[in-house]
Symmetry: C2
Subunit: 501 residues, 2 copies
């Protein structure tokens, strides 16, 4: 990796008379660098002293970052020459910053990133920075830009490849009761109605009773027996939290953003109110004047806010593993297409258990969770299902692809259900209706969560009520009389339908 | 009420040669108006025919609206002269529209409304319309402007007056267990943590267990015995619904607005994503490019979406009364100040039962609901409470103040709880922790809901879990051992606290 940095200092005063001092200073700075690293690794290659300016060129190889040397030199000059000659640096301009390195794989197509021109020849990349400020150098941007280029090339190799999917286990085949699409049938019966905005539903009492049965089963058969406790989190998630979890860079196009009023002052809203009263329409110009740009969004998954609740805490050993779940925050995901029935929607209801503990505790817990889930699917739902290792989104989209991560310890397991209405077992797409992950220390580190002694890991599982309901109804039908006996212990009868004329 | 309208028609062709035809036409139109109403009520006062123009002045009194006559004349001229002389109207300009009328009460201060200058002399008002288009006349804006002026004057008399409040009943005095602020104590114990954004909370398992006990009590002791069925609504409410309920003009400064991405196209989001990866900060400029202006907000109260679900339906008689509740949609209200503890927040969890039926059915239901609620507060909570008629917000803020509405049939009853931590019974503010309303046909009409035969009314009740919990805890303390026996049947023990170092 080669770095070539050219910078121009502008002084407040004429420095031509103290030429020698500056030369000596740079020579010393160079000696220091060379002594510390070696001439082949880093050196001040070139410099020119003008009337009120100093031009510097620093070249380095490997892990040494010339902008760090540059910022150090700036500080030292300011201090030493400032003291001795009362000379200050007015401005520092980065005229060139070129970074060259070799990639592991040849890029498959052009790469572009903000604030730079990227050129690739074979595996060789050169990044030419544009519009680079001192602040830009100070913050950790350069290294993140290098990382981003590498990640983009890596992603080119993953693009188009199917999701990682490795079968672990499957249930025996079951004969479905019917092969209809449960959503369509429930809409016909008036149990369900498309919501007032796209991708959302209004659940009348019959399907509500089914969703609540799913919730009760998950809590009573899985979570309570394993010692999980309910918490209630806010469903308004600020960007700071999503910056830490990687959601902000992972899926910003899928959030429902929240804009707050800039004020509650009635005077400021008066024109909007008056216009609404007169026109019975929305004046978007007036509305826009009174809204802030979003700083938060509606819950996407529940775990980020739970991790936030434990941020910077040190947990006592005897409290481990922490086992909590939220079933209150409603999730919203902006789907541009591909919505279907109640199984693929913009708004859904999910129980999300999360667990924080040692590697051993979590591996044991995973076995117990899998046992309890299988008990529900086999003995209560009598479902045809399969279970597989998959590549989880947060590794895929937030730039963390790493083949070595997808092994038995960490990663995500999906449960899928056969959906008779979609066609044959072999050819149709099954429905993912449950996932279970162990995530290593990714979020633990992001939120600086510690234990008294142990190294911590964490994980979570997503129990989507709409998904559980569709998986069950697609195989077992919507007639309670035909449901499995064990399920009927939770729900025997549905509320009476309202008769409309 | 006097109307004086002046308008100018511009023709596409020279009309000076067909002077006589136009004169005859206007004279006939005037005859028609006069015949229908009387000369004293409405007449075309004055007109002038130019080369390519026609000036018209219409004056009227009472309920006759000159703009309706103007639009009729425009249509007729277009049709008749168009056919005979191939002459069309290019433009219609309203040069003056003045409306004068007398108010019931003298305005207490100046009045202003959009699109008009309003002048008041004593009880006399004159409205001089500005920038009025043909579309403006066509829609029902003029009448709504008159109504808005009347309403603003009316509101001047209500402003500053306290809320209407009339005691109905009160429980016996109870000796509180303590006089501490439950929120503060629970924060100290780690049961509660301020949420990641303002006015929201993270409820750890202890307070969550208490909130769930409240929910179970409300459902098992009040709603189920009376035959209420659960439904699940979307918590994303489009402006169309709030326009119908009056919320849009009533409290636009209190909504949490929802902005959707303009696209899910990854290309469009690439720069935002790259910048987030490099800077680990949000580029609000880039974000702004990819967001739509809001067309919806987060649930403010649950009833609007439930009414929407029954929109334009005709309900069979035997299905009445309809008794449903939502406990899923989370409510968000933007509070600029006055937040306190978990009892006054931006985000809260509420069960909202709503009822649709005949007047008699709802009056009977109200008695039953009051009985069940009192049973909970007396026998389970052992609470000191009082109950009063109050002026509900939707009558107060959405411009529907009407003294005759606040009587026994319709209106809102509040339950209030004594809060020992706030001071003495007599001098401190009690906490409103339950409301119950019968609203007449206001929402029934707004959503065009009908029954087979009967006239329908509707109503709703708001069971805020945070409010129930604070009312109870403020009097009964947070030690489960000291809670009333009947409450302990719902919650005997709290989950163990997590020990942090």
């Amino acid at each position: 990796m080669k770095f070539n940095l050219e910078a121009n200092f502008t002084f407040g005063q004429d420095v031509s008379k103290i030429n020698k001092d500056i030369e000596k200073f740079i020579s010393e700075a160079n000696d220091n660098i060379v002594k510390k690293y070696h001439k082949k690794i880093a050196s001040i290659g070139n410099f020119r002293i003008g009337k009120k300016s100093l031009f510097l060129n620093i070249i380095s190889y490997g892990s040494f970052r010339p902008h760090n040397a540059l910022l150090q030199i700036k500080n030292s000059i300011s201090k030493e020459l400032g003291k001795k000659h009362k000379i200050g640096i007015r401005e520092i301009e980065i005229t060139k910053y070129k970074i060259e390195f070799e990639l592991e794989k040849k890029p498959l197509k052009e790469i572009s990133i903000p604030h730079a021109e990227v050129e690739c020849t074979g595996k060789n990349v050169s990044i030419n920075l544009k519009d680079v400020s001192e602040e830009f150098l100070r913050k950790n941007y350069i290294d993140r830009m290098i990382k981003l280029v590498k990640e983009k090339v890596e992603n080119q190799y993953y693009e188009g490849k199917g999701e990682y999917w490795k079968l672990i286990e499957e249930s025996e085949k079951k004969k479905p009761i019917w092969s209809k699409d449960p959503t369509e049938e429930m809409v016909k019966l008036g149990w369900l109605k498309q919501g007032p905005t796209k991708g959302k539903w209004f659940y009348h009492s019959q399907i509500t009773a089914i969703l609540r049965a799913m919730e009760n089963i998950a809590i009573n058969e899985v979570l309570k027996p394993l010692g999980f406790q309910e918490i209630i989190e806010s469903h308004v998630v600020p960007f700071e939290i999503w910056l830490k979890t990687g959601h902000m860079e992972g899926m910003p196009s899928e959030f429902y953003y929240i804009a707050e009023p800039t004020t509650r002052d009635v005077e400021k809203w008066q024109k909007f109110i008056d216009l609404t009263k007169i026109t019975k329409e929305i004046s978007y110009d007036e509305l826009n004047k009174n809204l802030s740009i979003p700083h938060a969004g509606i819950c996407y998954a529940q775990c980020p806010v739970i991790y936030w609740a434990f941020k910077s805490k040190t947990i006592s050993e005897e409290a481990l593993p922490i086992l909590v779940y939220d079933k209150t925050a409603i999730s919203a995901r902006y789907e541009s297409g591909g919505r279907h029935g109640i199984e693929r929607v913009d708004e859904f209801h999910r129980i999300e258990p999360i667990y924080i503990g040692t590697r051993e505790q979590l591996l044991t817990l995973r076995e117990k969770l899998l046992d309890r889930y299988k008990h529900v699917f086999n003995n209560i739902f009598d479902l045809e299902w399969r279970m597989a290792w998959v590549t989880p989104w947060y590794m895929q989209q937030a730039g963390k692809i790493d083949d070595t991560e997808i092994h038995q310890d960490t990663g995500t397991i999906d449960f899928e259900s056969y959906m008779p209405y979609r066609g044959s077992r072999e050819k149709s797409e099954w429905l993912e209706f449950l996932n279970l992950s162990i995530l290593g220390d990714k979020y633990i580190k992001a939120f600086n969560i510690k234990a008294q002694k142990s190294e911590l890991w964490s994980g979570c599982s997503g129990i989507g009520l709409e998904r559980w309901a569709t998986a069950f109804l697609a195989q077992k039908g919507i007639d309670p009389n035909k449901w499995p006996t064990e399920f009927r212990k939770y729900l025997k009868k549905l509320p009476k339908e309202i008769n409309f004329l």
